[in-house]
């Protein structure tokens, strides 16, 4: 029996994940050629590494095809319904920080807080005949956030990339996206609402409730957790 650990298959997220486990006595590495998605783990027995796109790790955790997975809290909360009943956080990893925020054009001098956004959406709809458009790929998180506050008369338009450009292109009036430094927002003349922080995300090690935890997988997890605790 092996315990399957899903980690991001490329880029800085993969490197930092490898470093993080390395600092805890477990050496993760890619094997084979540059283009081959194969990997190995040294320093702990029974752990099998599965390289996956970070965006797919929530799905694999939900299905229980991996026991553990490294991905952002933002993706888990966006992609997994009732996420607390399906996965558990084992450890925040201290990198991959990103804030999911609502941003509006800086020229909207009257819109500083959600209360303003709601009022602006109402007036915008009356003026333009359609609901105020917010571009995002985080539909569920944004919708829940706006519903909890009580913002109405907006619509979400899907944007899978270059979201900051949608306002200037007039395909959206505002955006909800991940930002780390805020530089891209500023460069596109956007500003975060003062109470527009939806979620602080970071890379996190998650555990799947649906995975098969019989047959030794539990012992391997215990050993791994002991290493993390050291």
């Amino acid at each position: 029996m092996t315990l399957k650990l899903g980690v991001p298959s490329k880029g800085r997220l993969m490197e930092k994940t490898f470093d993080w486990f390395g600092a805890r006595g477990m050496t993760l590495s890619r094997t084979g050629g540059d283009r081959e998605y194969a990997a190995s783990v040294e320093g702990i027995d029974g752990v099998e590494l599965v390289l996956l796109s970070a965006g797919e790790i929530p799905r694999e955790l939900t299905a229980g095809r991996i026991h553990l997975g490294v991905t952002g809290t933002d993706l888990v909360r966006e992609k997994i319904g009732d996420w607390r009943s399906r996965v558990a956080e084992i450890s925040e990893m201290g990198f991959g920080f990103a804030d999911l925020v609502i941003a509006v054009p800086n020229c909207w001098a009257d819109v500083r807080i959600l209360d303003d956004l709601d009022a602006a959406a109402s007036a915008f709809r009356a003026e333009h005949g359609h609901r105020l458009r917010i571009a995002t790929k985080y539909h569920r998180l944004v919708r829940n956030f706006l519903r909890d506050y009580g913002v109405a008369d907006y619509q979400l338009v899907d944007s899978q990339g270059a979201t900051e450009g949608t306002v200037k292109n007039e395909t959206a009036e505002a955006i909800a996206d991940i930002t780390s430094s805020g530089e891209t927002l500023r460069a596109n003349h956007l500003r975060v609402l003062d109470d527009g922080l939806i979620l602080r995300s970071q890379a996190t090690l998650f555990k799947s409730h649906a995975a098969d935890w019989s047959d030794g997988a539990k012992q391997i997890l215990r050993e791994l957790e002991r290493r993390l605790g050291d």
Partner: protein, 367 residues
Amino acid sequence: MPSKAQIRAEAARLMALFEAQGAVPVEADILQPAGTLLDLYGEDIRARAFVTSDPLRGEMMLRPDFTVPVVQMHMQNGADPARYTYAGEVFRSQEEDVGRPREYIQVGYEIFDRADPAQADAEVFARISDALAPLNLRVAIGDIGILRAAVNGLGTTEPRRAALLRHLWRPRRFRALLDRFGGVSTLPAPRRDLLTRLQKDGVDAVMAAAQPQIGKRSAAEIAERLQRLADDAATAPVDPAAVALIDDILDVRETPEYALERLRDIAVDLPSISDALERLEQRLEALSRRGVALDQLDFEASYGRTALEYYDGFVFGFYAEGRPDLPPVATGGRYDALTRVLGQGSEIPAVGGVIRPGLLLELGGAS
């Protein structure tokens, strides 16, 4: 648990009952254009309905209820007056609760009639109540028209009243706005800063400091809202006594006769609700004439505020006592405003309700 075949048979029985009482059977498509529903309910409906897409027609929704398609059908070619009944699945997605059904059968009874709204209210209620009679359900009724009338009579500016009316169905936001307008809560710091700058520098200077102008929302719209904020800041807070009256209304939870008495008492200081109370009294009389035992009903003035936001008058729901895990067995209400929104220039007073035959059987009623 009843089987689907049993539920279908029960739905057919109820529909035949409504048909025998004069309702015309109607159908509605399962696939509804998403645009209409989104415009009515906003993005929140996406969390509650199944959205799918057609390569040519774009986004579609599996019907989350019958009311919208039935209203559309009526507004296009309905007789006047008209009574309808229907039965079929509705579809609701569940983001949190795995145990709740995603599809279930509803049987409905709807009346479009200009002549006598109180009679129509009572008729819908009595039909549904009779069909559920053996179950001994707890019944809550309310009237969103009273709260609406109270807000309309609130001594403050038109934009403030409009903001409150817009959030009638979002109790927390409504409360936050009421507290803000009443001066009970303090303004958030970013708003205070903005108002200070507006007062010191004026609208033009505040806008000049936030360039360049991008996006579809124009400079004129921004200037207008800044002016509105400045005007609002100069407006006196709503009289705390008036806010207290709205709280008093929302607190009313009695048998209908006592509720009416208490509301009449409130109307002494808030005469704007008098007409709505008149309608409530007529409705109660009409219910009474139809043999509904009023002292068995709970009148809750805040009832129906968290439902889909189209009910704007009489609202009701039938609940299984001691089964808080179950959704209401039947719900309904008046939706005059919906006919206005979907009527493209015409409107007609309308009221209706739905029964969930599956729940009715589960609780051991009928068949």
